[in-house]
Symmetry: C2
Subunit: 229 residues, 2 copies
């Protein structure tokens, strides 16, 4: 990059853009970027599993990040009430997200867009959202380059998830306090062709995390390890 000739007081420079490419970012990271999309019923263990996989990848030196309800619903997909103070009521009503069908669709779309950016940055991006509708998950798959979207179905019977009920949400849904709750009065549409299915009723998060890591090694997303540490 060199400056051009001066004209008066103003430097007339050529303003090139030498953008760092995705391939360069992945080379520096030592692995490919991708989106590990964990999907399943509330209480199936998506978030715990995503964090367990994240821990393993981080300890191997991978560049990672977890997107989940905690960090998305407080910012990117904030509820209308959270936006109102700073942006006003009309703005909040239009762009704030609740849990209705269109709101959920837009929530998943925004998360997919952000996950795409993280993958472009060479990061292994783990998302943990119920994402119950096949159409919404397929829309995310469709917006990503081929191979970037890794759908991980965290499978567990409704009874098991309801038995765990870590946040007491099933209890409230059964009592009618929450409407449109996935598995109770709203459907969960199982993936038809996920990259990976893990059985969260039959094994603990350590074992399931190993299965995900093994998949990533087989797929060539991360380098294989000769001896596990």
């Amino acid at each position: 990059m060199t400056d051009g000739k001066r004209s008066g007081e103003v430097v007339d420079v050529r303003w090139h853009a030498h953008a760092v490419t995705r391939a360069e970012r992945e080379r520096a990271a030592g692995h490919r970027g991708c989106v590990l999309w964990f999907t399943g019923l509330s209480g199936c263990g998506k978030s715990t599993l995503a964090n367990a996989v994240d821990r393993r990848l981080h300890d191997r030196g991978c560049r990672t990040f977890v997107l989940d309800g905690d960090n998305v619903r407080h910012g990117l997909s904030a509820a209308p009430a959270m936006l109102e103070a700073r942006h006003g009521r009309e703005f909040a009503a239009r762009f704030g997200l609740g849990f209705g069908p269109a709101d959920r669709e837009e929530n998943i779309r925004r998360i997919g867009s952000v996950a795409e950016l993280f993958a472009q940055a060479g990061i292994i991006t783990l998302t943990a959202f119920i994402s119950p509708y096949r159409r919404d998950r397929d829309a995310v798959r469709g917006m990503l380059p081929p191979g970037d979207f890794v759908e991980v179905f965290v499978k567990a019977p409704l009874e098991v998830c309801e038995g765990r009920d870590p946040k007491g949400l099933y209890k409230r849904a059964r009592a009618g306090e929450i409407k449109g709750f996935t598995g109770i009065d709203d459907p969960y549409e199982e993936p038809l062709a996920p990259e990976l299915v893990v059985d969260s009723a039959g094994a603990g998060p350590d074992e399931l995390a190993d299965q995900v890591i093994a998949w990533l090694e087989r797929a060539g997303t991360i380098p294989r390890r000769v001896s596990p540490s």
Copy 2:
């Protein structure tokens, strides 16, 4: 993490979350995460400068990413017309973004939310958007932890930017083909207390990038270098 006792066929495990912390991610990266928010008129060189800084940081081994119109307006902040095929007209009209005041406000809010996530991931996040309104930039500053938002005002007189006009946008704005164009028929509100001001009419991108890097070293965001490579 250990499995608990079995009850029938179902493994009754304790599902801990051992989330990787931001501090751990920053330690692995070797620098702090932050948001370098480049703001200024169209044609001031925001994007070129952001990419020049990104190149330097990448070559030093930093974890970085650039958010700009190219990668945001095609996904996260897609126009209604881009959403319609997949999501329908009503959805597209509500969530798709144009260039009206509320749409711009929401665009900056989404970008700020995403930049916040990248910073949490320990990444030096560079954003290159005109972001003409003080209120919108201050809203992003307000949503980030103290110290994370680094406002870089890329200063250049309107005449210089209009003289460059790399995309021919000023010409179209002067001809009335684009309405509400910053600097022509819509205001650019200069930052009142930016972390850094760079003079893009008086120096080329190499020199300005050096100034940004020097600032990051002084601020302790990235480690100092004894000898430049």
